[in-house]
């Protein structure tokens, strides 16, 4: 059986929703961060599928750039998480409540 465009889009939508609910519901910053990456991957899957079925290359090129940006985002994100852990000894979002009125 050959997967068509709609199958890819459904999969990408599911991945995106999975990532989104993970961001909303999980409490561990690292897991939240993984879910963010899942949302990005969902978009790249949609881009590749569109590019394949449109018969154009620009979607593929876009994905290369997204992967590079995601790598830079990992560097920044993990650096911030490490900096926070050094000060607070925790990565749980519930305990990050020192900023308030």
């Amino acid at each position: 059986m050959n997967a068509g465009l709609s199958e890819y889009l459904v999969l990408s939508g599911l991945l995106f929703a999975l990532g989104f609910f993970g961001v909303l519901l999980r409490k561990n910053t690292l897991v939240i961060y993984m879910c963010l990456e899942l949302m990005l991957v969902a978009s790249t899957l949609a881009l590749v599928a569109f590019s394949r079925f449109n018969g154009a290359l620009d979607g593929h090129v876009f994905v290369f750039f997204i992967l590079t940006v995601a790598a830079a985002e990992v560097a920044v994100g993990l650096a911030i998480i490490v900096a926070l852990f050094r000060k607070r000894q925790t990565v749980m979002v519930d305990e990050l409540n020192h900023l308030k009125n």
Binding site: L9, F16, G19, F20, V23, T29, I32, Y33, L36, M39, L40, A42, S43, T44, A46, L47, A49, F50, S51, N54, A56, D58, G59, V61, F62, F65, I66, V69, A72, E73, V76, G77, A79, I80, I81, A83, L84, R86, K87, R88, L96, H98, L99, N101
Partner: protein
Amino acid sequence: MNIDYSLFFRAMQPESLLIEAALAIIILDLTVMRRKDLSARLNVASLVGALAVALAAVLALRNGAMGEILNGVLNLDTLAVATRVGVLGLTLLVLGIGTGGARIRNPAEYVVIVLCAAVGFMLMASAQQLLLVFLALELASLSLYVLAGFDKSRPESAEAGLKYFLFGGMAAAFLLFGFSLLYGLTGTLDLPGMSVVMAATGFHPMLAVAMVMILVGFGYKAAAAPFHLWAPDAYQGAPAPAAAFIASASKLAGFVLFTRLLWGSASQGQMLGATPGWVPVVWLLAGASMLVGNLAALAQSNVRRLLAYSAIAHAGALLLGVIASGRSGPGPLFFYLTTYGIATAGAFGVFHVLENQGGAQKLKDLAGLHRRSPLLAGCLMVFILSLAGVPPLSGFFGKFAVFAAALSPAGLGSPTGWLAVFAIAMSAVGLYYYLLILKEALVRPAAAGATAVKVPAAAALTLVAAAGLTLIFGMFPSLLLRWF
């Protein structure tokens, strides 16, 4: 296809100059300045950075509106040139208020990241292709996340950085998913080509999904209610110059980009703005932001959080400007963005000087400022009154221009007109909490034992210049508006 690279290099002169200056600053810091103390390193790095930014602004002005570059990947129209210069001016302001504080442990890296963010903002102003839009946005956002968490000596800074990063990352994912759907629908990444295809094919349900995704993404980035939750924490915890940058230049570039996505530029047809249904959504976001921002600001006792909620309220008014700019052009919106950016960055500059002298962020720490430093008190008064929209300061004219643009097509016959009336009513609420700040700074006597505040020379110069600009743009708004 033929690409004119000499044209491209000339158009990119300001951006390249900033990147070269960033490299030069790093090299300088690692060689000549290596053994100097922190404040000397910060001053030298800021000076080199400021010179490069000023030169880049001159180059951007000299090149002027060059039109389409690289087969329309970039479009340097008047709005792009104005935004570039505006971003550079605000960067100069942020660099100026950042000097004199010795709390930053890596001063050269700090200036370099500010310059990188400025490059991102400038590209956002002229990008006409989704790939470039995404890259420019991420360059700017990643730099801002780093800046928000830059002060490693304070746990609040890291917390602010993390919250800003998580919400910003989610916004980026939403935007990207919306972009990929747009690409799938139209088969092209170029905004002008996209608007042609969209005009030909008409409405498609997937377009509505893409639309919602993009609006959610921009809602987060612009801190519009109900996506505003990160803003108070980020504004409170980030180092003051970083918060000033997030509140001013990033707003300017972000809203210009959003307007372009919705309305296209003057030469091309409408973009997403032609899609039915987006105006009510933006309308709701604007109304909710003004309501939530202004009411929540009333309850704040921390000046930075207060400014954050006022920023949410201003985001609502700016969204109203986005709706209005479809008919009246981007002039009023640009004026509002620039003057708001100057005033809010200036206010953060005043707080930065105070915090460096051992003050905290509470409203009552401002008490007696008129005695402790008449200069700071005077500048703060100009900035806060401009934010409140009191004539003859530029904040008043910005509000006036945006509300007039919203009311002029149909008066009260359209929902946009009613939203403008709501915005005017909400400005009156805003006046109350802005005056609370001024009451502390100008009326309340100083606490016992409070000493005079020493203002570093560069920061003083920057603040006076910003206050002067706020006055001048208020009295002669045509200085900015004649560009459009």
